[in-house]
C-alpha cells in the first residue's frame, strides 16, 4: 500500500501544544532530531571556522584567544549536544518501541522531561557562549580550567543538566526493553539495534553520574576554591583527569554502540540475508560496555601516572578492541553470498566499514605504549577520534536516518541526490582527516593556533576537505527537507525488511500498531517473514 495513511502520528493531533506536550515517543524523537540537527549545524560551522583559520600558520580570520574558544565550543557542542544524545534520542526514541512491538516507551512523561532537560541544557550552553565563552578545550583540564576567565561555570552546569537527559533516556530504554516486548519477542529474537541501545543505556546509567560529580567538583573549585585539584592547596590536578576520563572514555562507547547497532540492521536488510554471528554481535556489545569502564587511563599515559598503571590500561585497551573487531568480521561475513543492493543506507553502511576500520586500527597505535608517547596530544589523535566518531557514528547515524526516514515521514527522498551527497561526504571526510594522521606522526601538536611552515600543505588539503564535506551536508539537508513535503509515498516496507516497524504504516499511527503484534521469527528471517528482496531501482 503506497499511500500515506490519512491519520498518522505526524498530522494528528494538530497544533503546537500537541507537540510540546506530547507523550508520543515518535513526536519526541522528531523534536530531538530537530535539536541535534541544529547542534550539528552549529558545531559544524565552528569546524569550518577552525579549518579556515588553519589554512595558514599566521592569523587568517581570528586571534588566538578566539580560536581557543572556537575549538572548545566545537568539541563541547558536538559531543554533549550532538553525538552523545545522537542516535539514541533521535532514532532510538522513534524506532525502539516499534522494534519491540510496543505502544510507547516505559515512561513517556520522563521521555518528554528528558527532551525539555536537553533543551534547557542546550540553551544554557548557548548562553555561555555569548556571556564570556569558554577556552578550556572540551576536556576542562585543571588547573587551567579553574583559573581561566569566561563562562566555565555556566558551561559545565549546562553539561551537568544535559547529563540528566542522558541518564533518564538510558533508564527509560532499559525498562522498555525489559518490560514492553511484544509476545514472542524473546531476547535472541531482538533486532541487534536493540542490543546496541541496551548496552549504550547501561553505560549512560553508570558512567554519567561520574561526569556529574566531576563537574560539581570543578564548579566548587572555581567558585569556592575547595582546592581538590589545586596543587597549591594540596590538591591534585591529575585527579581531575582520572575523574573526567572515568566517564568520558565509556562515553565514547555511548557514541559508537548505537551506531554499530544500526549497521547490524542495515547490512542484513541490504544483503537480504540473516546476520552472521547474531549472538557474537549481541554479546560483544556487552563485552565492550563492560571493558569500556576499565581503560580510561589510556588517555593519561604521559600524564605522570605510574608506568605500572599505564601498562595495565594499555593491556585492557587492547582487550576492548577485540569485540569491535569481531563485529566488523561478522558484518563482512553477512555480505557473503547475499543479495546486495546499493541504496543510500547501504552506502553509508559500507562507508562505516571502511572508515570505522581505519579509526579502530589507528587506535592500536595509541593503545601501544611506546608509540602513544609520540602520537598522543598530536593531530594523530584528532584524526583517530574523528574517524571513529564521524567516520563511525555519524555515518551509521546517516545510514539509519536514510533507512528509517520513509518510515517516519511516509515519503522517500531523492535517491540520486542522496548518492551524490554520500559521495561528497565520504570523499570530503577522507581528504579532511587522512591528512591529519600524517600531520600527527610528523609532530604537529593539537589545539595549535599557529604552526610550523612545513605543515602548511597538509593543512591546506585538510581545509579543502572540510569544504567538500560541508557541501555534502548542505545537499543532504536540502533533499531531506524537501522530501518531507514532496517525496514519493514510500509504503509500509520499502526496503524488504523483516523487523516489526515495517509491519505498520508509514508514518505509523500514534498507537504504533493496529493490533499488538505476535512475533514468530527472528529479526532477519526474511523468508519466514514472507518478505522478498525489493528490486525497483
Amino acid at each position: 500500500m503506497n499511500t500515506i495513511p490519512e491519520r498518522n502520528f505526524l498530522n494528528h493531533p494538530t497544533g503546537l501544544k500537541s507537540w510540546l506536550l506530547t507523550l508520543d515517543h515518535k513526536r519526541i524523537g522528531v523534536m530531538y532530531l530537530v535539536g541535534i540537527s541544529v547542534a550539528f549545524l552549529l558545531g559544524g560551522i565552528f569546524a569550518v571556522l577552525i579549518r579556515l583559520e588553519l589554512l595558514n600558520p599566521a592569523r587568517d580570520i581570528m586571534g588566538a584567544q578566539t580560536y581557543n574558544q572556537i575549538f572548545t565550543l566545537h568539541g563541547a557542542i558536538m559531543i554533549f549536544l550532538f553525538i552523545i544524545p545522537g542516535i539514541p534520542v533521535a532514532l532510538g526514541n522513534i524506532v525502539l518501541p516499534l522494534l519491540l512491538g510496543a505502544k510507547d516507551v516505559a515512561f513517556p512523561r520522563l521521555n518528554l522531561a528528558s527532551w525539555y532537560i536537553y533543551v534547557v541544557g542546550a540553551i544554557m550552553a548557548i548562553v555561555a557562549i555569548f556571556t564570556g565563552s569558554v577556552d578550556t578545550g572540551w576536556t576542562f583540564y585543571t588547573p587551567y580550567s579553574t583559573g581561566t576567565g569566561g563562562s566555565v561555570v555556566l558551561m559545565t552546569l549546562a553539561v551537568f543538566v544535559l547529563g540528566f537527559s542522558s541518564i533518564f533516556t538510558g533508564l527509560n530504554f532499559v525498562v522498555t526493553i525489559h518490560k514492553l516486548r511484544a509476545p514472542g519477542l524473546t531476547w535472541f529474537r531482538l533486532p541487534l539495534f536493540v542490543w546496541g541501545i541496551y548496552a549504550t543505556a547501561i553505560i549512560q546509567i553508570l558512567a554519567t553520574p561520574i561526569l556529574g560529580i566531576t563537574l560539581v567538583l570543578l564548579i566548587l573549585e572555581r567558585v569556592v576554591g575547595i582546592g581538590i585539584f589545586d596543587p597549591a592547596m594540596g590538591g591534585d590536578p591529575v585527579l581531575f583527569q582520572h575523574f573526567f576520563w572515568f566517564y568520558s572514555h565509556p562515553a565514547v562507547y555511548i557514541m559508537i554502540l548505537p551506531g554499530m547497532g544500526i549497521i547490524s540492521e542495515l547490512i542484513p536488510v541490504f544483503s537480504h540475508k540473516r546476520i552472521f554471528g547474531y549472538r557474537a554481535i549481541a554479546y560483544s556489545s556487552f563485552g565492550i560496555a563492560f571493558i569500556s569502564f576499565l581503560v580510561w587511563g589510556h588517555h593519561m599515559f604521559i600524564s605522570g601516572q605510574s608506568p605500572l598503571a599505564s601498562m595495565i590500561f594499555s593491556f585492557l585497551t587492547f582487550m576492548v578492541a577485540i569485540p569491535s573487531g569481531v563485529k566488523v568480521f561478522n558484518w563482512t561475513a553477512t555480505m557473503y553470498k547475499g543479495s546486495i543492493s546499493l541504496e543510500t543506507p547501504m552506502l553509508y553502511a559500507l562507508s562505516f566499514l571502511f572508515l570505522f576500520t581505519i579509526g579502530g586500527l589507528t587506535g592500536l597505535f595509541l593503545g601501544t605504549l611506546a608509540t602513544d608517547v609520540h602520537l598522543t596530544d598530536t593531530y594523530f589523535v584528532v584524526a583517530h577520534f574523528h574517524y571513529v566518531m564521524m567516520g563511525g557514528t555519524v555515518m551509521a547515524f546517516l545510514g539509519g536516518l536514510h533507512y528509517w526516514w520513509p518510515k517516519i515521514w511516509g515519503r522517500m527522498y531523492n535517491e540520486f541526490w542522496a548518492k551524490i551527497s554520500t559521495a561528497l561526504v565520504f570523499i570530503g571526510f577522507n581528504v579532511t582527516f587522512l591528512t591529519q594522521f600524517v600531520l600527527g606522526t610528523k609532530g604537529m601538536p593539537r589545539r595549535y593556533y599557529s604552526y610550523l611552515d612545513q605543515f602548511q600543505p597538509l593543512h591546506f588539503y585538510s581545509t579543502v576537505g572540510s569544504w567538500i564535506l560541508a557541501l555534502g551536508f548542505v545537499i543532504m539537508a536540502i533533499y531531506l527537507i524537501r522530501s518531507i513535503f514532496n517525496g514519493k509515498p514510500a509504503g509500509d516496507n520499502p526496503w524488504g525488511a523483516a523487523t516489526l516497524e515495517w509491519t505498520t504504516t508509514s508514518p505509523p499511527p500514534t498507537e504504533n500498531f493496529a493490533e499488538t503484534p505476535v512475533v514468530t521469527h527472528g529479526p532477519y528471517d526474511f523468508e519466514a517473514a514472507g518478505v522478498k528482496p525489493t528490486f525497483s531501482r
Partner: protein, 318 residues
C-alpha cells in the same frame, strides 16, 4: 625544514626513536593487512553478489563457532604481541640511565627555561652534548604543559608543584624543535623552543661561558638577539603593534601610564624593574601576565636589552 625522516615520521634523532619507529611501522603493516582484508572482502562481495532480482539468497549460513574463535583468538594474539613490544620499549623510555646529565626544565606560560648543572640557564634553548644520556627534571609554575620533541619521540606532561621525568640520548649534533603539547591557553602554539645537540667540547664551553655576547658583537646587537632568544618577542612587538604586552617602539624616553593611576618616563630603571619585577607596575590597558626574568637574565643581558630598547625609542619622525 623537514627534509629527512621517513614518509610518515620525522628524522629519528634519539637512541629510542628507532625502536619507536620500528614498532610504528609494524602496527602500520598489520593495520594495512586487516584493512585490505575487510574492505577488500566487502568490495568483492558487493560486486559479486549484486542484487539481480527477487530470487532468495544462495546461502543462509548465519553462524560459525569456528570462525568466531579464529577471528577472536588471532587478533588477541596479535594485540598481545603489540602490547608486549609496546611496553618493552616504554620501559626503556622510563628507566633513566644512571650516569645521565640532569637538567632542570621549567615550563610556564609561555616559555621554557632550562637550568644546567653548574648554575647556568637558558630560555627556549636546550643545549645538550651529543651521545650522552640527558635526564630532564620538569615542573611547571602555572598550568599543565607537555615537553615534546618529535625528532626524539619524547613527550611528557609537565605539572605544577610536582616533578615529572623524561630522558633521551641524542647521538648526533643537530637542531630540533621543542613544542608544548598540552593546551595551556593563548600562547600554547607559541611555546616553540629549540634543542641544540652539540659536541662534548662545545657543551662544556657553553656551560662555562654561561651566556654573553660573542666576541665583536655590539651590546645593541646582542640585545636584539636576546629580544628573540629570550622570547620577549612572544608578547612585545618592535613595530608599534599592540600584543600581549606594550610595543617597544617609541617606548624609551616617553611617558608610560599605569593601571590605577600613576605614570613615569620610561628610563633605564623602569625597563630594568619591568624585567625583574613585572608585577610592580602594570601599564594601563594590559594584563599582569608577564613572568619575571629574575634569575633568567643576568646583568649583562639586561644591559644589552636596555640598549636595544633605547635604540627603538625615537624611531618615528615627528
Amino acid at each position: 625544514m623537514d627534509t629527512t625522516g621517513t614518509l610518515l615520521m620525522p628524522p629519528a634523532s634519539s637512541t629510542i626513536a628507532g625502536d619507536v619507529d620500528a614498532l610504528f611501522y609494524l602496527i602500520l603493516y598489520i593495520s594495512i593487512f586487516f584493512f585490505v582484508l575487510v574492505v577488500g572482502a566487502a568490495l568483492i562481495f558487493t560486486l559479486k553478489y549484486r542484487r539481480k532480482g527477487e530470487a532468495a539468497v544462495e546461502s543462509q549460513v548465519d553462524h560459525s563457532l569456528k570462525l568466531e574463535i579464529v577471528w577472536t583468538v588471532v587478533p588477541v594474539i596479535i594485540v598481545v604481541i603489540l602490547f608486549v613490544l609496546g611496553f618493552t620499549v616504554f620501559m626503556k623510555m622510563n628507566i633513566v640511565p644512571k650516569d645521565a646529565i640532569e637538567i632542570k626544565v621549567t615550563a610556564q606560560r609561555w616559555l621554557w627555561t632550562f637550568d644546567y648543572p653548574g648554575g647556568s640557564n637558558s630560555v627556549n634553548e636546550l643545549v645538550v652534548p651529543a651521545g650522552k644520556p640527558i635526564k630532564l627534571l620538569m615542573s611547571s609554575t602555572d598550568v599543565i604543559h607537555s615537553f615534546f620533541v618529535p625528532d626524539f619521540r619524547v613527550k611528557m606532561d609537565v605539572l605544577p608543584n610536582r616533578y615529572s621525568t623524561a630522558w633521551f640520548t641524542a647521538p648526533d649534533p643537530g637542531e630540533h624543535n621543542l613544542m608544548c603539547a598540552e593546551y595551556c591557553g593563548k600562547g600554547h602554539s607559541e611555546m616553540l623552543a629549540r634543542v641544540k645537540v652539540v659536541s662534548d667540547r662545545e657543551y662544556t664551553e657553553w656551560l662555562q661561558k654561561g651566556s654573553g655576547p660573542p666576541e665583536g658583537m655590539s651590546l645593541e646587537k646582542y640585545g636584539e638577539g636576546l629580544f628573540t632568544s629570550r622570547r620577549c618577542v612572544t608578547c612585545h612587538s618592535v613595530d608599534g603593534s599592540v600584543n600581549v604586552g606594550p610595543s617597544f617602539l617609541e617606548l624609551f624616553g616617553h611617558q608610560v601610564y599605569f593601571k590605577g593611576g600613576g605614570q613615569t618616563v620610561a628610563d633605564e630603571n623602569y625597563i630594568r624593574e619591568s624585567m625583574l619585577d613585572p608585577e610592580a607596575k602594570i601599564v594601563d590597558g594590559f594584563d599582569p601576565v608577564m613572568p619575571t626574568y629574575q634569575g633568567i637574565l643576568n646583568d649583562r643581558e639586561i644591559d644589552a636589552l636596555i640598549v636595544y630598547i633605547k635604540s627603538l625609542g625615537n624611531q618615528r619622525e615627528h
